[in-house]
């Protein structure tokens, strides 16, 4: 979806489409842990994610989020590191990374994400103009990546944008410069327009217009039982984790239905 990938509206003849593959190269296999250095934090994050699921492949999206946060984009190096920890081929993770909008598949430094909604409700109220204003305000700064995004689920504050996950709106064009200043200064972005402080319009219990109290922080005690890996007997936890391709095991109480 970027200028570096040539696309043609009337056909698929992207230059190079008929070049033969390089048959002298072996297909990439699971990266060898001995030759693939992985940052310690990344390894811990991915391993923690894998432990939550019955199948380690379920951690592909969390792993790519973690790798992208360190590398700025899903670079071959980032993919290799995640693939090494997950013991999957880089091709598998590449396939996942190219499917989802939040994963960057073109080179990019570590950056701030500015998603500007340009879907129906936001565009009715000036989302497209807001996108242009923000692109102008960022002025080609590589560390601020402004892009149009599909509906972000905040049409009540249209036109809106998400800055590193913080939803702000309703925006006017003058806000663009403030947003960029706030990002550069490293302070909360456009705090007066953040969604987290917005009251529900349907709340008629308190007619005052005071902003909503922000959600209270909660820190779980470190020795608290966990919600993800608990819930099953210890014997069940120790057993081998089957993949999605594993056959369903039926217990003797519920024998499989005889085939007719």
């Amino acid at each position: 979806m970027t200028a570096s990938v040539p696309r043609f509206a009337h056909g698929s003849r992207v230059p190079g489409w008929d070049d033969a593959v390089d048959l002298t190269k072996d297909p990439a296999t699971i990266p060898d842990p001995a030759t693939t250095p992985v940052p310690e934090q990344l390894r811990r994050d991915i391993e923690a994610a894998m432990a939550k699921y019955p199948d380690r492949r379920s951690a592909a999206i969390p792993a790519l989020h973690a790798a992208q946060a360190i590398h700025g984009w899903c670079s071959p190096e980032a993919i290799d590191q995640a693939a090494c920890v997950m013991q999957l081929t880089p091709a598998y993770l590449n396939a996942v990374a190219t499917f989802y909008d939040m994963f960057e598949t073109t080179p990019r430094p570590i950056h701030h994400d500015v998603y500007v909604c340009t879907n129906i409700s936001c565009s009715l109220l000036g989302g497209d103009e807001m996108l242009d204003a923000l692109i102008g305000a960022a002025g080609g700064d590589e560390s601020i990546h402004v892009r149009s995004f599909e509906c972000l689920g905040a049409c009540d504050i249209a036109p809106m944008a998400s800055i590193d996950g913080e939803f702000v709106g309703p925006l006017i064009e003058e806000d663009a410069a403030k947003i960029v200043q706030d990002i550069r200064a490293g302070r909360p972005v456009l705090e007066s327009k953040q969604l987290r402080f917005r009251r529900c319009v349907d709340d008629d219990s308190d007619p005052g217009q005071a902003p909503s109290a922000p959600p209270q922080e909660f820190v779980a005690p470190t020795d608290a039982p966990r919600a993800d890996t608990v819930g099953l007997s210890s014997a069940d936890r120790a057993e081998d984790r089957p993949g999605p391709s594993a056959a369903i095991e039926t217990t003797p109480e519920t024998p499989a239905e005889p085939e007719e």
Partner: protein, 441 residues
């Protein structure tokens, strides 16, 4: 009007267990755990609650489809709220996360399920953080995990963040994404109730449906069924946006006139101009016009009017808006989000997008509207999932209801660009940069 979900939703600290409990939270869970599974399921069936995610399938029957007996079953909460115009689950999860957790525990108990997941869209970072904290808090209090609330039942709960794909809101696409694959929909049957997540029987419900369960248990299903109208029982969160004075989420009783929502609650268009068209259930629903404002807002009335209640997302456009602009946004959105697995959707959404662009550049003829309508009929019902249908239905309805206006647009653009080379038209900036250069004929 009774409020079940949005009752004092802005109470400070409602996202913490302490405040939620003070308001009687998790009492429904204890009540449910004290009931037998059959009685609980019967109560949910009595409530006649229909799924709030879009399809409107009766939630109780969905649970009853799960195979009986001891086996690994899964519960998945669909929090991938990406239907344009919908933002009800966002507010619910951000302000009252424990309501969802309690509802999930009730549903898991009713279906004899020991593993549950919440699939939340990756863009909802604040909401995911809040939910994660709430899950940790509930687990610390023994309300999730082994021996839920002292009942001897074990239910685990994992929050899974997506990474931005509309198709993951489709239930089988969501399951593939949760399994760590590209989120392509699957062939049905087998339906997820028989073979879903990790090949096990899986119950999938929307956030709002699950969050309503504590209220249903508390007031009993039969009592809940008295709210709303026949076949559309209970209350519903409605997200209203676009040209209205007070956009936002409202909890309404199903069956009230649409005018009461658009004009009464949301205040109508701020310009004072009449409503030209509106989407009653997200961008996937066929549009209605200003003449349809007196229709009752419930599943059956909307279906009779040739549209659908969908996710309960109303988008309003007043007289000053061009239908063509909205049409382009709809076509572009679905062309971008089509996963590419089924040909009719992959090609149909892209060609519809290109045909709408041609109207802007003056290259279209009125016959293009017929072609566009025929493309829509070829998509509907011919794909694994309804993403293609979700574009075909609104586009088809716009062509049908606003044909004279669209023909006027075609003629005006033709005259405007007469004699221009195609390259000049592109240089005018009407082409959508994301779709690449315009087709040249």
């Amino acid at each position: 009007m009774p409020k079940l979900l949005f009752d004092n939703i802005d109470e400070p600290g409602l996202n913490t267990l302490e405040v939620y409990r003070r308001r009687g939270g998790y009492e429904s869970l204890k009540q449910a755990l004290a009931m037998s599974r059959e009685d609980l399921l019967a109560s949910i069936m009595d409530s006649n609650i229909r799924g709030r995610g879009g399809a409107g399938f009766p939630a109780g029957r969905k649970i009853s489809f799960l195979p009986k007996g001891e086996m690994q079953k899964y519960l998945v909460c669909n929090a991938d709220e990406s239907e344009p115009g919908t933002f009800k689950d966002r507010e619910l999860m951000q302000k009252s996360p424990h309501m969802l957790i309690e509802g999930m525990m009730i549903a898991a108990y009713a279906g004899n399920i020991s593993k549950s997941f919440i699939f939340i869209r990756g863009e909802y970072q604040l909401q995911a953080d809040i939910l994660e904290a709430a899950i940790a808090e509930a687990a610390a209090a023994g309300l999730i995990g082994e021996n839920v609330a002292g009942s001897g039942v074990s239910i685990s709960l994992v929050l899974h963040r997506g990474a931005g794909a509309y198709i993951c809101g489709e239930e089988t696409g969501l399951l593939d994404a949760l399994e760590g694959k590209r989120g392509n929909p699957r062939l049905k049957p087998p339906f997820p109730a028989i073979e879903g997540l990790y090949n096990g029987p899986t119950l999938i419900n929307n956030v709002e449906t699950l969050a309503t369960l504590p209220a249903i248990v508390k007031m009993s299903g039969a009592e809940y069924a008295r709210l709303g109208v026949e076949n559309s029982t209970g209350t519903k969160l409605v997200s209203i946006s676009g040209d209205v004075k007070r956009p936002g989420n409202y909890e309404i009783e199903l069956g009230i006139p649409s005018r009461e929502i658009i004009y009464g609650l949301a205040g109508g268009p701020p310009s004072g101009k009449p409503v030209k068209f509106w989407f009653p259930g997200g961008s996937s629903s066929p549009v209605l016009t200003g003449d349809d404002l007196d229709l009752g807002y419930d599943f059956d009335t909307m279906a009779k009017a040739g549209t659908m209640l969908g996710s309960g997302a109303i988008i309003v456009a007043d007289e000053s808006r061009r239908v063509l602009d909205t049409m382009l946004k709809v076509a572009k959105f679905y062309a971008h989000e089509s996963c590419g697995k089924c040909v009719p959707c992959r090609e149909g959404t892209n060609w519809t997008h290109k045909m709408v662009q041609r109207i802007y550049t003056g290259q279209a003829t009125p016959m293009d509207l017929d072609i566009m309508a025929s493309v829509q009929t070829q998509i509907i019902g011919n794909c694994l999932c309804v993403l293609g249908d979700a574009m075909a239905m609104p586009i088809g309805s716009m062509v049908q209801k606003f044909r004279p206006e669209l023909e006027g647009e075609i003629e005006a653009a033709r005259q405007r660009n007469f004699g221009n080379e195609a390259d000049d038209v592109v240089a005018m900036g009407v082409a959508d940069e994301l779709a690449g250069p315009l087709p040249v004929h």
